[in-house]
């Protein structure tokens, strides 16, 4: 303030100085023009309403559906393997040890019940005897060659009836409570193999100690022989199917403030309605509260509506 003391006698000059100061401070003073202007596109009274013109709905792919009953299907996808039907398998062994003098069948041959497969000269009686298949089926394994000295313990042929096969499905511990005998399973071998549907006919009573999994079995007819034992498959087990009063596609659900909502179409615009989710299916979920049958709701592209509602909050968020 010494500056001003010097100037006191000359009040005009002091005044001028003050003016200069005030000017400079005013010019660099606080500016409230920086306050961001917000576009309020939504209704002022109810801030949670969004209005979109029909063109905008088309532009953003907003689809409307009417809430109504539907059937919810719950499935479990489990890995599995095609196995020979253990009940339709025959191990053919020689009755007496001896030398193989004739082999009449090869792997892959189709054989009928009682058909002779090989001739063996018995070591004891030196007489020839035939070994015959006990079932009709396909030879899937063969363990003898001409001139071989064969013992009683050897399995000469394995004949399997491949008109049906077992599909052994691996059931993990966590899924066990939901898998029951009698459930439908869609068996998919992939690699262009046809898809077949079967019923679970067996569920193993114990769990494998090494793999900690149980086994569910589907018996599949295999007239063409396409289901080759040893193939890996995926099984979609239909664990439940039930009608519900209101179900929406998963695409209709949006999360807002850690809550699931469905956007309802009202005359004023779209309003998010918190919903309670019941049972979930693959594509559909049951809604137990928050959406009444007959109400129109947004089944797709609800994200845009959610974004419009949250617009004010992400304004200043960028990189600060």
């Amino acid at each position: 303030m010494n500056v001003f003391n010097v100037m006191r006698p000359f009040s005009r000059s002091a005044l001028a100085l003050l003016w200069v100061l005030s000017l400079l401070t005013a010019a660099t003073g606080p500016i409230s023009a920086f306050a961001a202007e917000d576009e309020h596109a939504h209704d002022e009274e109810n801030p949670r309403t969004v209005s979109l013109t029909p063109e905008e709905q088309r532009e953003f792919g907003v689809e409307i559906a009417v809430a109504g009953p539907a059937e919810i299907v719950q499935t479990l996808q489990l890995p599995g393997e095609v196995q020979v039907n253990g009940n339709r398998l025959a191990h053919i062994s020689p009755r007496f040890p001896g030398i193989v003098t004739k082999v009449g069948a090869n792997i892959g041959d189709k054989v009928t019940h009682g058909q002779a497969l090989a001739v063996i000269q018995s070591d004891q009686s030196l007489s020839n005897y035939e070994i015959k298949t006990m079932i009709s089926g396909t030879i899937i394994d063969k363990h003898l060659t001409l001139g071989e000295a064969i013992t009683r313990e050897a399995t000469a042929f394995v004949v399997a009836d491949l008109s049906t096969v077992w599909v052994d499905i691996t059931v993990f511990q966590k899924d066990l409570p939901r898998i029951k005998v009698g459930q439908q399973a869609v068996i998919n071998g992939g690699h262009g193999m046809p898809v077949a549907t079967g019923t679970i006919s067996y569920l193993s009573p114990v769990i494998d100690e090494a793999t900690r999994t149980a086994l569910a079995r589907v018996v599949l007819p295999n007239p063409q022989g396409g289901w080759r034992p040893g193939s890996f498959i995926n099984a979609d087990v239909m664990v439940a199917a039930f009608p519900v009063e209101v179900a929406v596609p998963r695409t209709a659900l949006q999360g807002m403030e850690e809550q699931d909502v469905v956007f309802l179409k009202t005359p004023a615009g779209f309003v998010p309605s918190p919903v309670t989710i019941g049972r979930k299916g693959r594509d559909l979920v049951e809604i137990t509260a928050g959406l009444e049958p007959g109400q129109e709701y947004v089944s797709r592209a609800g994200f845009t509506l959610k974004a419009e509602l949250g617009k004010d909050s992400f304004g200043e968020g960028h990189a600060h």
Binding site: V3, V20, L21, A26, V50, F303, T304, E308, G315, E316
Partner: protein
């Protein structure tokens, strides 16, 4: 002293001339080498450290990467602040250094510390790298690859960009980096089918290590054969898909299991966090050229453009590089604005000189001071590293009129003395005497002008960086003009000016040009009236002052008017949780809407980020560069602003998207500044994000209740959904698994694991092993991922981990090594200081902060308070020094005060000028006022000096006032009109950057009008009260 200098220069005329010519030559050389920019670079002095860690969430990035880097940067010399941002997959640490610190030194010390940081970052979590050696204005050219054939895939185009275009462009001198964005980076993708893994009993880890160990070249020294050496090398590098397919993963009973049995092997695109699209028609591949720090923008762009043409000729048929943004036109436009103003100003000044000086020779001497001062300025600009830009050249344009002032006074006096002197007297002696008479006031007047610009040097931050170059050039140019008037003007006068042909009395009007005589006719009675009726003079002064005082509060205020860059960027901000697919779809919709506007020719958008280095944008942000049609096709007339309004209007509200219109440089610099735009920013520092968020909400609620609070807003920190897989330690223990066993499968199966590279020549492409999409792309599929236990059992993931969907932070920002959250707020209708006091009190009583949590107060208001505080000291001190200079000149307190009286009188004109043209008070306007002070003071000095001379001769004060005014009307009018006319081109300019210069010019021109009139009318009237007491003392 001054006389000695003048005599020396007159005694060594040849030396002086040669020195001047050399100096001007050096100045011209410096001019050709000056870096040319559009605007002064206002980017902060910072070094950025980027670390890319694919797939890591913000929390992990912060913990493993950001923190070690940040910690290493503390304690470095010159570091002002360390800010960091941990985003999904990316860590950015900004190390802000003090302004003026050498950027290479800063980078060097950051580089040294980065070495330490690298050791702290766990393996595989990325390698921190410094950003390009550039600034916010370094993004000089963007281009995209135009494929006319339509046959190239995005991935092929990106390969061309990354491996051909980029390498060629990077060799251009002045280019520091070329970043690719858009399309897909080529990648060999191995999509493993998990059921096949189970089938062959192979783990994903085994697959990865098998691929790694089947892709190698080695050298094995050499053998000698017939006196020659043969180098031995073994080639085992996989060269493509076929080699990869036939990698044997396992052999069972002699049957090999090939990689092809387990997986699909495709060439595809890498995971990306950004893309480019165009005109609503689909994706493109683009590149960004970044200029090296301190290089000449226009020269670099020129070279890049030449290189682009060269590259175009070697690109495959149908592909061309098309620039869609370049800074060159902006640089050219900005320098055109100022150079044309400069040239027009010089011409106008020259005309004024001719008219007033009344002779060609004296005019020539005065006019020569312009090129000398200008070239002198260029020379020193080159020495001080000031680039030629809108502001520095603008400073010159402002100074043009003032540059001649000193020489005018000098030459005018020489002219007069020569006319009056007897013909037999030595011309050199007359000139020496004439110069000695006015030398002192000239030095003081120029010193005062330089001095009044001092407050500008104290401006800080963006304003400081913007206006300091202007102050520098004005000061340098004035110094140059002082040199000219003291050393060269006497020399040149002695060589060019002739003695008067006819002798004349020391009579007013004699020898004066016709214009001046013509002006004196009406002036004399008017000034006589005011000198006789002093109350009338007071009345006029008071009325004008009152007018200024009335208008002043009506002026709006703004910080700095926005510089129009000539390029419009439409910036979209979408929800933080948005997916890239949706973000692309939304951007496409906006692109189509924009393309429907007839003024728009092309729209090129960038979503998210490409190669790291220039942008760190997340995928919810899109920047759309708008290329406009030529002006004659517009439906509206006007500049950028009109089109911007048109776009805003026709684009309308886009549902779910926040639309901002901005400009490329503005946007980049804002991002680097990362400042808070609101007046008040309350920051809470602390450790826990949840607590920070809760406390911030509480603070916001409390502050919102304080009277005057407006627009209270809490930073949105969360908003990105996460699928959180938390390991159940009990469960993994039962199967004998380690956490790592499970996590490595999660990482590789869902995120992918790089298993080496495929080399195609020197181009290399990653091999990425990952589960097939259907086995990893939904939460349900992830839950079914099988983990192989040591026992051989296959365990689905959700038996080992808990899977939850949560909302996580979208990014974590830190400052000074701590997490923080900001609450922004504006204050309306209340003094911000008392608002802060009140708010601090309520927060203290109502918000309970846990230990370790800290609240700080900042924002624009703090910067402004600091600036105001500085100015409160600097302005009075400057005025005091001005006063001391005046006092030193006149040796009279009264005289000095009379001259200071000019200041308020000049202000009025400036204020009225702003008001009439509808402009706001702003920083450039303030700069105008500052310049105005200097000129007004100068005018006052000219008059009062002469009055004193007359009074000392014994002429009565009243008589001296009238006669002095009439005789001195020529220099007063000349200095005023040269300055005003020198600025006139800026006043009427519509060119790029004129929006900043215009308020300045308005203030000076308006102020000069009132100040000159008042100087000529009021000062003579007031002189009586402020006159030196010659008569009474003598």
């Amino acid at each position: 002293m001054l006389q000695r200098i003048i005599d020396f220069s007159l005694g060594n005329r040849l030396l002086i001339l040669v020195a001047a010519v050399l100096l001007m030559g050096a100045g011209y050389l410096a001019y050709t080498r000056l870096p040319v920019d559009a605007f002064p670079d206002v980017s902060p002095n910072l070094v950025q450290v980027f670390t890319v860690t694919d797939g890591l969430a913000p929390e992990e990035i912060e913990k493993y990467v950001t923190f070690p880097v940040e910690a290493a940067m503390t304690g470095l010399p010159g570091v002002e602040k360390v800010r960091s941002l941990s985003n999904f997959g990316l860590s950015v640490v900004n190390v802000y250094f003090a302004d003026g610190m050498d950027i290479y030194f800063a980078r060097q010390i950051v580089g040294e510390r980065l070495q330490e940081a690298r050791e702290q970052i766990p393996d595989g979590f990325g390698d921190p790298q410094m950003g390009p050696i550039s600034t916010g204005m370094g993004l000089v050219l963007f281009y995209y690859l135009d494929d006319a054939t339509g046959e190239y895939t995005l991935e092929e185009l990106r390969t061309i960009q990354d491996w051909l275009v980029k390498f060629h462009l990077q060799t251009v001198p002045g280019v520091t980096e070329v970043l690719g964005i858009g399309g897909y980076e080529r990648q060999f993708q191995i999509s493993v089918r998990p059921d096949q893994l189970v089938r062959y009993d192979i783990t994903l880890d085994e697959v990865i290590s098998r691929i790694r160990s089947n892709n190698l070249n080695v050298g094995a020294q050499f053998i000698e054969k017939n006196s020659e050496e043969f180098i031995v090398r073994s080639e085992g590098l996989a060269t493509g898909r076929d080699d990869l397919r036939s990698i044997v993963i396992k052999t069972v009973h002699g049957t090999p299991v090939y990689l092809a049995d387990l997986a699909e092997i495709e060439i595809g695109g890498a995971i990306r966090r950004g893309l480019q699209s165009r005109n609503g028609r689909g994706e493109i591949v683009a590149g960004q050229v970044i200029k090296l720090f301190g290089t000449n923008s226009s020269a670099v762009i020129q070279r890049v453009e030449e290189k682009l043409a060269e590259i175009n000729s070697i690109l495959p048929e149908g592909i061309t590089l098309k620039p869609y943004y370049e800074q060159k036109s902006l640089v050219q436009a900005a320098s055109r604005t100022v150079t044309s103003a400069l040239i027009q100003g010089i011409l106008l000044v020259a005309i004024v000189l001719l008219i007033f000086m009344g002779g060609f020779r004296p005019s020539l001497v005065v006019a020569l001071s312009l090129p000398f001062s200008v070239l002198f300025t260029f020379l020193l600009m080159g020495r001080f590293g000031i680039s030629a830009n809108l502001m520095s050249l603008g400073g010159l344009a402002i100074a043009i009129g003032m540059l001649v002032d000193g020489t005018i006074v000098m030459v005018e006096n020489i002219d007069r003395r020569l006319r009056l002197a007897p013909p037999d007297q030595s011309r050199l002696r007359i000139i020496s005497r004439a110069c000695g008479e006015v030398g002192r006031p000239i030095v003081f007047a120029i010193a005062i002008i330089i001095l009044v610009f001092v407050p500008l040097f104290t401006l800080q931050g963006v304003e400081g960086k913007t206006f300091r170059p202007l102050a520098y050039t004005v000061a340098i140019a004035m110094l140059g003009s002082l040199l000219f008037s003291l050393l060269l003007a006497p020399t040149l006068s002695s060589m060019l000016m002739r003695s008067s042909r006819k002798q004349g009395e020391d009579d007013e009007g004699a020898g004066e040009p016709r214009v001046v005589r013509w002006l004196q006719v009406p002036y004399r009675p008017v000034v006589g009236f005011f000198v006789r009726h002093r109350p009338a003079a007071i009345l006029v002064a008071v009325v004008l002052l009152a007018l200024g005082a009335v208008i002043l509060p009506r002026l709006g205020s703004e910080f700095t008017p926005k510089l129009r860059e000539g390029t419009i960027v439409v910036r979209l901000t979408m929800p933080p949780s948005i997916s890239l697919t949706q973000s692309q779809a939304t951007t496409r919709i906006v692109e189509r809407r924009l393309m429907a506007i007839p003024e728009i020719k092309e729209v090129v958008s960038r979503i998210g980020r490409g190669e790291v280095g220039a942008h760190t944008d997340p995928i919810n942000s899109a920047e759309m560069y708008v290329v406009l049609q030529p002006k004659d096709k517009w439906r509206v007339k006007g500049g950028q602003e009109t089109v911007e309004n048109l776009i805003r209007e026709e684009l309308g509200n886009v549902p779910g998207v926040l639309v901002n219109l901005t400009q490329p440089i503005e946007m980049t610099v804002d991002e680097l500044l990362e400042g808070v735009r609101a007046e008040l920013a309350i920051k809470i520092f602390g450790d826990d994000l949840e607590t920070l968020k809760d406390k911030a909400d509480e603070v916001a609620a409390v502050v919102g209740d304080v009277a005057g609070a407006a627009d209270v807003q809490v930073d949105q920190v969360d908003g990105t959904p996460q699928l959180l897989l938390r390991i159940d330690r009990q469960a993994i223990a039962r199967y004998g698994l380690n956490v790592d066993d499970v996590q490595s499968v999660i990482k590789a199966a869902v995120g992918g694991e790089t298993a080496g590279q495929i080399y195609e020549g020197i181009r290399r492409f990653d091999i990425l092993v990952r589960y097939a999409p259907e086995a990893r792309s939904t939460a349900d599929a992830i839950a079914e991922i099988l983990i192989t236990a040591p026992s051989g059992a296959h365990v689905p993931l959700d038996q080992l981990v808990s899977i939850r969907e949560i909302i996580g932070p979208r990014q974590i920002t830190r400052e000074d090594n701590q997490r923080f959250i900001t609450i922004q707020c504006n204050v309306v209708g209340k003094d911000i200081g008392s608002f802060v006091d009140e708010a601090q009190e309520v927060i203290a009583t109502k918000v309970d902060l846990p230990p370790g949590y800290l609240v700080t107060w900042g924002g624009q208001f703090r910067l402004q308070q600091e600036a105001n505080r500085r100015l409160m000291v600097v302005v009075p001190v400057t005025l005091l020094f001005v006063f001391l200079l005046l006092f030193g000149n006149f040796g009279s307190l009264r005289n000095s005060l009379l001259i200071l009286l000019n200041i308020p009188l000049a202000l009025t004109g400036g204020i009225v000028g702003l008001w009439l043209t509808g402009q706001n008070l702003s920083v450039p306007a303030s700069v105008g006022f500052i310049a105005l002070f200097g000129i007004a003071l100068e005018n006052g000095m000219v008059l009062v000096t002469y009055f004193n001379q007359l009074v000392q001769k014994g002429i009565s004060i009243d008589e001296a006032s009238v006669r002095g005014s009439c005789q001195r009307i020529r220099p007063v009018l000349m200095t005023a009109t040269t300055t005003a006319l020198g600025l006139l081109p800026l006043l009427f300019s519509h060119g790029t950057g004129s929006e900043v210069q215009k308020p300045l010019a308005t203030v000076v021109v308006g102020g000069l009008l009132t100040s000159t009139i008042l100087t000529l009318l009021v000062i003579p009237a007031f002189y009586k009260w402020f006159a030196i007491r010659v008569e009474k003392e003598s």
